[in-house]
Symmetry: C2
Subunit: 387 residues, 2 copies
């Protein structure tokens, strides 16, 4: 048994991604595929080069269809149970890049229903509030408002539920038991929920009245949902959605992913410069016990959380990264300097992000899909019209 | 083990209602309760006198609250998987009478989602179509359009799903397994469904912002759903709904309830006079082999399907019914005459019902609650407004 857990609702331990590829039955993203991809995009996003996005299902098919003149749309999302941290941004930043490169639509799902069902201590009103708060972080990244649809499951429930029924009819309890580890003590909302997460992978085809390929950038823990989608949607006459999957941003301590539930080891998009400074300065590194030893023996970037942040998000220039790496190993770069560099980069990013996040409040409606559902209003209208 | 089955999705065998009262843990409706009830209504509907409505949960509490100036609302429904037959009308006719007597609202749910999920061979489009077709039979009975809200689950899904989540979170798979006999091979929509059926029992309280008692007239097979509602709703701060439960109208053969799936032994609201005549003439009776024996030995109304139709729906005058009974037992009344009488009564009823059913098409909107959900429209509106 591996000593890590990866499900849509729990990630713990030091994840072995090679093992996960075998367990989940996903395909690694190899050089050949990247070469094929580059024929369209002319460049390869650092997330791909660095295997932050490391695995896929049918990504090659998506490119083939695109080359044939059959473009895809993007679908990703967020489970809103708290504030957004940097780890959440990985698939969104990548989606933004894909949207620009391919000029395609993004459908962004806020799963306020899911977070309510899977978290005993949170109310539906709270997850719904977080949904729209978190959406500001999405909008802040600069998605094309003409091609981006953000929706909360609760506020698109009329559309989602009626289509989820068709999916739910094809999935048994045995299947969700085997796929997610749900059991007799699971609540019936949790059991049903996956069918709601599948719907956006067919919505565009429903609207267009013809099959449209769907590409889902996601963190690898969400793969089980879409394994089911890929099983069920062809039975309803739709394409299987394609997936492109990323690793987790580690936390600032030793091992494990960045988690909103361990506040001090995660950096939130709302964090102030001083908070970031404090958190990074407390981070676990691969450095030696003191500056003298570091100069003599050098550090170990491969176990260093600070280096991982440079690698995954904040030092995307390859030459610069190589320099950090070799100077660390060679003992030239001390942890304090390296942390200072990271703190500056994070705070520069967050300063801009927070500005855009404020502006997002004014352009929120440009992105939002929301059904006009109000029972009191419907009753009043009906009663007015009644003969 | 009893040799009958009563679940929301299957009723078979000769139902022993006394045994069912014990099994389900429902209360029989006794004389004392009827006496208490009559203080308000001044009369007792024949369905109550004749124990067609034979059991309840908290019906006395409903009357008590009403007397205190805290009136209830009615909630009932229909699973639309085919045409409406006479058996379906029992709770609706009784609801109509209650609405008149108490001047209260009726919320009428068309469970097109349920029928789709529980019937392998029917599409969602079909159950949805049946929902609105069946609604014509409801409207034909003459409910007060100002106090009646008819809705399809699919067309009120935005409202239903968001509230169903709160109910679903309180119900485990173990519970639906024990309550409905669902198992590992059940689909995840079936497992979730009961939470949708509970919502209308809390909707009026949601809208009013204060607790409103809810009375549900229903056929006894639906009791398991509301047993769960009664367990869950108090946990969410709502009243337990009260129930008043009826027996099944038997089919025209020996034993078993009238079922839409055995066409020749059920009388549908769309049946033509000749069809009714043929079906009743083929009915199983408690009569003797020929007229001579009948004159000598008399018939047996207690096993006779024709007598049951007189008793339950078509001879509601007590003196007239007693006369039929005694003449049958005494050998004065032959089955042919008795059938002729029933055929006339059914056809008179259906003639009027079918007229009203046609008229219902014009006043449909006066009853209907339907969310204005149209994703294409929402997308167009959003894109128009986008900066």
């Amino acid at each position: 048994m591996p000593d890590f857990i990866v499900t849509p609702w729990e990630v713990s331990g030091e994840v072995d991604y090679d093992l996960l590829i075998k367990e989940f039955g996903i395909e690694p993203i190899d050089e050949k595929l990247l070469f094929y991809f580059k024929e369209i995009t002319n460049e390869i996003h650092p997330f791909l080069r660095r295997k932050v996005f490391f695995a896929h299902r049918d990504f090659q098919w998506i490119i083939e269809e695109y080359k044939k003149g059959n473009p895809f749309y993007l679908y990703t999302g967020r489970g809103p149970s708290g504030n957004v941290h940097l780890g959440h941004l990985l698939p969104w930043i990548f989606s933004k890049w894909l949207q620009e490169k391919f000029n395609v639509e993004l459908w962004f799902q806020l799963t306020d229903d899911e977070k309510f069902l899977f978290n005993q201590s949170i109310s539906l009103e709270e997850t719904h509030k977080y949904a729209y708060d978190n959406a500001l972080d999405v909008i802040a990244l600069g998605f094309n408002p003409k091609k981006t649809y953000i929706f909360s499951d609760i506020d698109l429930a009329g559309t989602l539920y009626r289509n989820a029924l068709k999916i739910a009819k094809k999935i048994t309890f045995s299947t969700v038991k085997a796929t997610f580890g749900l059991d007799n003590s699971s609540n019936i909302g949790q059991i049903f929920y996956t069918s709601i997460q599948t719907v956006p992978a067919m919505l565009k085809s429903m609207i267009e009245g013809k099959n449209v390929p769907c590409l889902i950038p996601l963190a690898v823990d969400q793969d089980p949902h879409f394994r089911l989608s890929r099983d069920v949607l062809p039975k309803l006459g739709f394409y299987k959605p394609a997936l492109i999957e990323c690793v987790f941003l580690p936390n600032l301590q030793q091992g494990g992913k960045m988690s909103a539930s361990v506040e001090d080891t995660a950096i939130f998009t709302k964090d102030k410069p001083d908070t970031v400074k404090k958190k990074v300065n407390n981070a676990f590194t691969g450095g030696q016990a003191n500056a003298k030893l570091q100069r003599e023996l050098g550090g170990n970037p491969s176990v260093c959380s600070v280096y991982k942040y440079h690698f995954m998000l904040f030092t995307l220039d390859d030459n610069e990264l190589r320099s950090i790496q070799s100077k660390c190993i060679g003992g030239e770069l001390l942890c304090g300097e390296c942390k200072k560099d990271l703190i500056q980069k994070i705070n520069k990013f967050l300063n801009e992000h927070q500005k855009q996040r404020e502006k997002a409040k004014d352009i929120f409606e440009d992105y939002l899909l929301k059904e006009k559902v109000d029972l009191k209003y419907l009753i009043n209208e009906k009663n007015k019209e009644t003969h």
